[in-house]
């Protein structure tokens, strides 16, 4: 392991901004897409239920 402390780990040998900028944006983007997709299925079901309810 290359790290002696948490501070060293966060510092990333001076490249913290670049490394954490990459990892954070990637994780946030994937999590957001997954969340949006789960929400989309729920709202689609609700919307279609309303539509078919009205049609009946």
């Amino acid at each position: 392991m290359s790290w002696g402390s948490v501070g060293e780990f966060l510092h990333m040998g001076g490249y913290g901004l670049y490394v954490w900028g990459s990892y954070s944006v990637t994780l946030v983007a994937l999590a957001l897409e997954a969340w949006a997709l789960l929400r989309r299925e729920r709202t689609t079901v609700q919307r279609l239920r309303l539509e078919t309810g009205r049609a009946r």
Binding site: S2, V19, S22, V25, A29, E33, A34, T44
Partner: protein, 254 residues
């Protein structure tokens, strides 16, 4: 009875080509592939940060590779799969094909964006610039625009079957960009380095770096399958809303 047996095998093979049969399978795939993605991503990042050694030339900045390379692979691979479904839709006219192509595009665009984003953050400390108009970077940016074009064209066409066809033609035309991206570092003199992993020779990097990269690549595969399956479920429901099985499903979701 042999004749019936043959028919049964055929029907079971093609069963999942129908949206109604794929709908429940997509939920199972999304759940298990999503779970696998989380586990593989944790394992890959653990190796990337705690097992893989510091790079002799680039120091710690190279750790961006564990996202950058798998994301770039995924951006190209999803495009090829999307074009495959687009072609299948044009040739076999199966309803699910067009839906799968549409379901893949946003996730492909996301990985293309991530490849460009992490590339910029890696380029700044190693090349001294966020961006250069070299062949590799430019062709990857064109890939992002191809995804956007596919989604925009599909969304702009009112009739969904015509939208599938038009977008499929666009996707197949854009396919020519994939070998351009892949071979750009060979065909042109680029600032971007050559391939880290080649099909013809052993990897030149440390074994732990290679393992970390492969685990993240696998995680991104699993994530993409999960995302596409989840997205196609909403698309199936919306497009098949006139059918009896969707009506029955919606009643069951009370």
């Amino acid at each position: 009875m042999p004749a019936t047996h043959v028919t049964d095998t055929r029907s079971s093979l093609f069963r999942f080509a129908s949206p109604a049969s794929f709908f429940p399978l997509a939920a199972a795939l999304a759940r298990w592939c999503g779970l696998a993605a989380v586990v593989l991503l944790c394992a890959g990042f653990y190796i990337g940060f705690f097992v893989a050694p510091t790079d002799a030339q680039q120091g710690e900045s190279y750790r961006i590779i564990f996202i950058h390379v798998p994301a770039a692979w995924m951006s190209m691979f999803i495009y090829v799969v999307m074009a495959f479904w687009a072609a299948a839709g044009l040739i076999f006219r199966t309803r699910l094909s067009g839906m799968m192509a549409v379901a893949l595009a946003p996730t492909g665009a996301l990985f293309t964006f991530l490849a460009l984003w992490t590339g910029a953050l890696w380029g700044k400390p190693t090349w001294g610039t966020w961006w250069v108009w070299d062949a590799r970077l430019t062709s990857e940016l064109i890939l992002l625009f191809l995804y956007f074009g596919f989604m925009a064209l599909h969304a702009a066409t009112e009739d969904v079957r015509r939208a599938d066809k038009a977008a499929a033609v666009l996707a197949l035309t854009g396919l020519v960009n994939i070998p351009v991206i892949y071979f750009s570092v060979k065909w042109w003199n680029t600032l971007h380095q050559g391939a880290s992993i080649s099909f013809t020779s052993a990897p030149t990097m440390a074994g732990s770096m290679f393992a970390g990269m492969m685990l993240v690549a696998l995680a991104f595969w699993m994530y993409s399958i999960a995302a596409a399956c989840l997205r196609v479920r909403s698309i199936i429901l919306a497009r098949e809303r006139g059918s009896a099985w969707v009506a029955a499903y919606l009643r069951g979701q009370a």
